[in-house]
Symmetry: C2
Subunit: 227 residues, 2 copies
């Protein structure tokens, strides 16, 4: 499903050149459950932005579902994202003046789903992340962990085949984290491909494979057989 | 130093009344190192906002350094915050168009510190959180964990006697987390009072006392003798 070959990402700043990603190569097959780990600043979010078609590499190729996305137009990339990817951002990126329900409905609005069905599906997904009593609240009326769960619900509502989650449990207590990981595991059993960035070994243990980054390079690719 | 008596915080929303804090009482002495834990939505950030003079309770009293802050004007509260409190926010709240250095200098600017001295002290604090090479970068040019460390540096730069940190290691790998906790521990040994919210038992273990919240109530107050 995901084929990364020699991907490099270079930022030019006032004081020179920064290699956020450095010749990264790996393949993720459909239906895998992968964790990405590494120190702060090692390139994890940058890698996720490439996988999520939000950013293009400076060098190398990325094929999603067999298709080289490096040469698609902005509109084509937006369509690929809407149809194939559910993305949980490290910084949430919720609409501040919309309610939790409106935020979660957004991907369904882009997909042209009817108003009644959008409401039903967004409402059900908010129930699944434990926010049944926060649907009419706006982000600034919610705790950090509640905002994070709205971001998770939004990423999952359109039933996309690929789920990319950047630190989805960073603001959650261990009990709520377990509930969210159970949800990701259930979606994985249904056939979804899940790639999540985490700093915690307990969370990475839910995955079958860990990709470890350091200084923009992929330094370790470890699979755990038959879990 | 911190005297909380019967503090209650009620939010009124479209569908009724929400008790974010419910008759919370505890005392923190000067020089203590306290961790606050509890489920997502249990009232931890709301409690921190009261302790940090950013929000006033609906009922009950809060005395900081012997002074009842519930009846201070906005200007007086701002002065108390600038003189006594270093606050690390769960959502960072960095100025997006300022560099890391400018963001960290901000509390010193409010305190009337000279331009040359501000630069020196902000630069030194960024070194201490491992960001020596990011001083000229703006938040959107940094990773999540780097932004979190800028927020930490900003909270510590004015050498305030009370440090309030809301999930300061949520976006940090375990190695960088340890470095940040070593920094808080060092400041604690120098005599600072530290209160930090965390979801992780490993991080709470650095404190000498844990306050556990559930549904807006303080349900457990556990001290670990002689560490
Ligand atoms: N402005 C507001 N209006 C209505 N409800 C609010 C408001 N701010 C917070 N709340 C509610 O108050 C409760 C406590 O919120 P708080 O942010 O203190 O939780 P928390 O313990 O910090 O959670 P987390 O671990 O997820 O950060 C939550 O249920 C939240 O939805
Ligand atoms: N727009 C940008 N301009 C310059 N440098 C950037 C930019 N965006 C990211 N970087 C740098 O690229 C490197 C990788 O960033 P990235 O966000 O991928 O790290 P990360 O592994 O997700 O870190 P964290 O665990 O802290 O979230 C960092 O050193 C960061 O400072
Ligand atoms: Mg990141
Ligand atoms: Mg909080």
């Amino acid at each position: 499903l995901l084929e990364v070959r020699g991907v490099t990402k270079i930022y030019r700043t006032g004081d020179g050149e920064l290699r956020a990603l450095d010749h990264v190569s790996f393949t993720v097959l459909r239906g895998e459950f992968v964790a990405i780990m590494g120190h702060s600043g090692s390139g994890k979010s940058t890698m996720m932005n490439v996988l999520g078609c939000l950013d293009s590499p400076t060098d190398g190729t990325y094929r999603l579902d067999g298709r080289d996305v490096g040469h698609l137009s902005r509109d084509e990339l937006a369509r690929v994202r809407n149809e194939k990817i559910g993305f949980v951002f490290q910084g949430f990126h919720l609409l501040p003046r919309a309610t939790a329900l409106e935020n979660v409905e957004l991907p369904l609005l882009y997909a042209g789903v009817s108003s009644r069905l959008r409401g039903t599906r967004a409402s059900a997904m908010l129930d699944r992340v434990g926010l049944e009593h926060r649907k009419g609240h706006r982000p600034n009326q919610m705790s950090g962990g509640q905002q994070q769960r709205v971001a998770i619900a939004r990423a999952l509502v359109a039933d996309a085949p690929l789920i990319l989650a950047d630190e989805p449990t960073g603001n959650l207590d261990s009990h709520t984290s377990d509930e969210i990981m159970e949800l990701f595991a259930a979606l994985h059993r249904e056939g979804k491909t899940v790639v999540l960035v985490t700093h915690e070994a307990d969370i990475a243990a839910w995955a079958r494979r860990v990709l470890r980054f350091a200084d923009g390079r992929l330094v370790e690719d470890l699979s755990t057989p038959g879990r």
